[in-house]
């Protein structure tokens, strides 16, 4: 899975991640507080201007925007028909402006920068014993690590079906996919515990092999 972050130059990339995230939040609040199409259009220009600074190139930019813009446009049309042209305009401008800025921020903040910010943000929760930043980092790493394995397993199950002359359907693949994937949890947890990452080992009363 390729991350949406890119290495880049320019002030957008030099800005601290925290400033960028807070700016996005404030921008969102501001845009949701106004219904003035003119102000929203200004927002569009601001979002577009910042996205331009991400230097992604036309093709890449369009490919990133396409899925979201599709939904936004369809809903704007829906709004045009069932509400009013004004509502459609507000919806279109507002959501597009936010999408442009959000796309720029996503491109210019790396995953480890995000994780650093999250680590800082959940410090109060850590003090209360409700969450651990290290656990979240580990969890994110585990997911990224094992998604390709799950996909591979899905493909193996499809092959097994085809080999038996059965058309591979979601409902026949789903259960073995889930069971086979989750069965690895014990072994993976053992490996994590054996490396002493979380300061604990498995409890002795779980029945294990020989």
């Amino acid at each position: 899975m390729r991350s949406l972050h890119v290495e880049g130059t320019g002030w957008l990339y030099r800005l601290s991640p925290r400033v960028k995230l807070i700016s996005l939040a404030l921008f969102s609040i501001a845009l949701f507080m106004t219904r003035d199409p003119f102000l929203l259009a200004v927002g569009l220009l601001v979002g577009g201007g910042v996205l331009w600074q991400a230097h992604l190139g036309l093709k890449e930019t369009l490919s990133r925007l396409r899925p979201v813009m599709l939904t936004i446009t369809v809903i704007a049309l829906f709004s045009f028909v069932f509400a009013s042209p004004l509502e459609a305009t507000i919806s279109l401008f507002r959501l597009t402006a936010l999408t442009l800025l959000a796309t720029a921020i996503t491109a210019s903040v790396s995953i480890s920068q995000f994780m650093d910010e999250i680590t800082l943000a959940i410090r109060p929760l850590e003090k209360l014993g409700l969450a651990k930043a290290a656990d979240i980092g580990l969890a994110v790493g585990l997911v990224i690590r094992f998604v390709p394995e799950v996909v591979h397993r899905y493909e193996l199950l499809q092959d097994a079906h085809r080999a038996r002359g059965i058309r591979a359907k979601l409902h026949t693949i789903l259960v073995p996919l889930i069971i086979m994937t989750l069965k690895d949890a014990d072994a993976i947890a053992d490996a994590i515990d054996a490396r002493g990452f979380r300061g604990q080992t498995s409890s002795p009363d779980i029945l294990r092999g020989d």
Partner: protein, 226 residues
Amino acid sequence: MDICFNQAGARFENRTALHPLSLTLNEHRIGIIGLNGSGKTTFARMINGLTKPTSGTVTVNGLDTVKDEAAVLRQVGFIFQNPQNQIILPVIRDDIAFGLKNRGLSKAALDAAVEAVLQRLGIEHLANRRAHEISGGELQLVALAALTITGPQILIMDEPTNQLDLKNRALVEKTMAKLEQDLIVITHDLALLETFDRVLVFNQGSLHADTSPANAISLYRELALS
């Protein structure tokens, strides 16, 4: 190394996985063999505290596996059968470095440590690869790298060549021979044990024999084929 079992045994629910036994391990290369269900894996897991004794105690270099859990884990590394499930981060380099993450090392020191272990095991070319792209013997070597980077003196390996083809098996065997750590190896691959110092044979939760590799292997064959 000095590993002591003091009448240590393990019971799960209503099944005895290992009957209480007492012995001391201090050889450089120790093999563990036995049929499935013989207690050999439970025995090995009790050495690093993954399985806690339900009776008696186990100590490693004077540290108790229950009371000094974290310290024991720092001294004893454990390599599992399936290397897939041991590499837990997407990029090889990151997984290897992870063991040293919380030690407050500078980035330069961390990178140097990773490079050193990559070179020691001859896997520099795998550093930037993704875990799901490599397999077999190379994955086991990555697991070895990830475990040895934190400097444990003792390595337990649970059937390290079990899932490997001949070429990968040879790779792992060659690497094992060069390892400085004390090795305790559970295996069905009897040829691995020929140069070992001592081999324990387990059967039905008890130690059946504790002898030289050659003796152990013939005793094990008797058990298996009887």
